[in-house]
């Protein structure tokens, strides 16, 4: 019968693959949730940026007067600054009527004899000014401008959006903290169990007169390295998941903020390294403080 020869494991080494896989899995759970949060954040921002108020202008305003109002609103801090410029869009009453006719198929100017619609400025509001109170004073301020006929927005819709965003944000934060605790405990226990097999080596080092720092050093370096490998493996898996999801789900890429994804990946690697490091530190400190009888 063929005899299998196994390479003798070096003392001081502990199961690299199983520890790294365990840390990777724990980090992966956190990473997937992190991806969800990053996407949700961008989605929230998209929804918030689409919140708008409508500023109806007086009839017979000259182009210069309309431009003046437009500029005045654009310069306000509550007006959202988009990449392509201030979030103020002018819709003339002719454009509005054409759009209305196109949508309804009825030419109301024929039987009314006139276009009753008004020139309109659609203003996107910056997310930090979207609270109900802020919207009230913004409305008042714009209303008081010369040439403005009326300011309107759908108050209940905005309130319900803001309410839900706050609630979902709180739930996600709670869930994230819970997951983080679970991940820390899982990694901590994995490392503690792995180091249990090393307790007599630690004791031997103590008996020859090695200082705590000499004993801890190699273990800490190794734990940080395992954390780094696990964190990097997690990031590779997450990138693969994202790549696959982007191919399958249309427009998903629009919800991905690359800088936030980078922060997420760096955080995952850091959590891997730090939790590995401190769990090892705690476990070694525990074994360093034990007498022989306690070790058995």
């Amino acid at each position: 019968m063929e005899q299998k020869t196994r390479k003798k494991r070096k003392l001081g080494s502990y199961p690299f693959i199983s520890v790294t896989i365990s840390i990777t899995l724990a980090l992966l759970v956190m990473g997937i949730f992190g991806l969800l949060v990053v996407h949700a954040k961008k989605l929230t921002l998209n929804i918030q940026e689409s919140i708008e108020i409508q500023v109806f202008l007086n009839n017979q305003l000259t182009n210069t007067e309309i431009t003046r109002i437009n500029r005045s609103i654009s310069s306000k801090p509550y007006t959202l600054n988009k990449e392509e410029g201030p979030g103020v869009k002018f819709i003339s009453k002719d454009e509005a009527s054409k759009q209305f006719i196109k949508e309804t198929g009825e030419d109301f100017t024929e039987f009314l004899g006139d276009n009753p619609l008004r020139d309109l400025l659609v203003v996107n509001i910056a997310p930090e000014y979207q609270a109900a109170d802020s919207l009230k004073w913004i409305t008042k301020e714009i209303q008081s401008m010369n040439g403005v006929y009326e300011v309107a927005y759908v108050e209940s819709l905005i309130e319900s959006i803001n309410d839900n965003i706050t609630k979902i944000g709180l739930i996600m934060l709670g869930f994230f903290i819970l997951l983080l605790i679970v991940v820390v405990i899982l990694i901590n226990n994995t490392i503690k169990l792995a180091l249990f097999s090393q307790r007599f080596l630690i004791r031997s080092m103590q008996l020859v007169g090695a200082k705590g720092s000499f004993i801890r050093g190699p273990f800490l370096k190794r734990a940080a390295f395992y954390g780094l490998v696990a964190g990097t493996a997690t990031c590779i898996i997450l990138v693969s998941i994202l790549y696959y999801a982007n191919q399958r789900i249309e427009d998903l890429e629009k919800l991905q903020d690359h800088s936030q994804l980078a922060i997420l990946f760096v955080s995952i690697i850091l959590v891997g390294i730090l939790v590995g490091y401190f769990s090892t530190y705690r476990a070694i400190r525990k074994y360093l403080g034990m007498s022989l009888d306690e070790l058995y």
Partner: protein, 236 residues
């Protein structure tokens, strides 16, 4: 009790605990520099606990003990490694590392105790191996050595930092009588060159053959052959 200036170990009115029960109480003795002392007693009489207390593995809660210049009572954790560099421990649970050669076993101890200079480390390795009568084993793995040779390597490891005293717990426990005698002779040679030895043993044949001072743990006390006579045959 007055203590000699030359004492390596000074124990005064100390209580030795195993877990929460006292195994030895109110004990007093001292071991001079270069002295050889046997420690005997029945299993569970407190020999191992006493040795563990002497090298600060078990805390000393009552009384005073001074070993190689360190007060064991209230010794700070960061002082313990420095105490252990001044003593040598030869203990059943403290084996060689079987995954590395004899030389690497020795280098490991040297690195752990602050040796940096490789040339000095190699010199010291040759010195201690010669001293235990093993000139040419440094590249061998421990499993390639006989039991007696392994024990000699263990002793060599304990000698690396020129300890003031060796604490040995049953150093010949697993060896046949001829090999054991060789190991005992090695201990005497080391002792003759000035290192004190405190050896726990059950083997009273050796004590008869190589008579030295005996400390006996009995009924929670220490009997000292330098102060009172007692029967060696009672040792078991």
């Amino acid at each position: 009790m007055t203590f000699s200036e030359d004492a390596v170990v000074k124990v005064s009115n100390a209580n030795i605990f195993q877990d929460n029960s006292t195994v030895l109480s109110g004990i007093d003795f001292e071991i001079e520099k270069g002295e050889f002392v046997y420690l005997v007693g029945r299993t569970g009489s407190g020999k191992s606990s006493l040795l563990k207390t002497l090298y600060a593995d078990l805390p000393l809660r009552l009384g005073n003990i001074r070993v190689a210049g360190y007060n064991i009572r209230g010794i700070k954790p960061n002082e313990v490694p420095f105490l252990r560099r001044k003593i040598g421990i030869i203990f059943q649970d403290f084996e060689l590392f079987y995954d590395r050669s004899v030389a690497d076993n020795m280098f490991f101890v040297m690195k752990a105790t602050g040796w940096r200079d490789k040339a000095k480390m190699k010199n010291r390795l040759a010195e201690v191996l010669m001293r235990v009568g093993l000139g040419a084993v440094s590249s061998k793995m421990p499993h390639q050595l006989s039991g007696g040779e392994q024990q000699r390597v263990v002793i060599a490891r304990a000698l690396i930092n020129e300890p003031q005293i060796l604490f040995a717990d049953e150093p010949t426990g697993n060896l046949d009588p001829d090999v054991s005698e060789g190991i005992m002779n090695l201990f005497f040679e080391i002792n003759n060159s000035g290192t004190a030895v405190l050896m726990a043993t059950h083997n009273h044949n050796f004590i008869k053959k190589f008579p030295h001072r005996v400390l006996k743990c009995e009924n929670g006390k220490i009997l000292d052959s330098s102060k009172q006579k007692f029967e060696l045959s009672e040792i078991s």
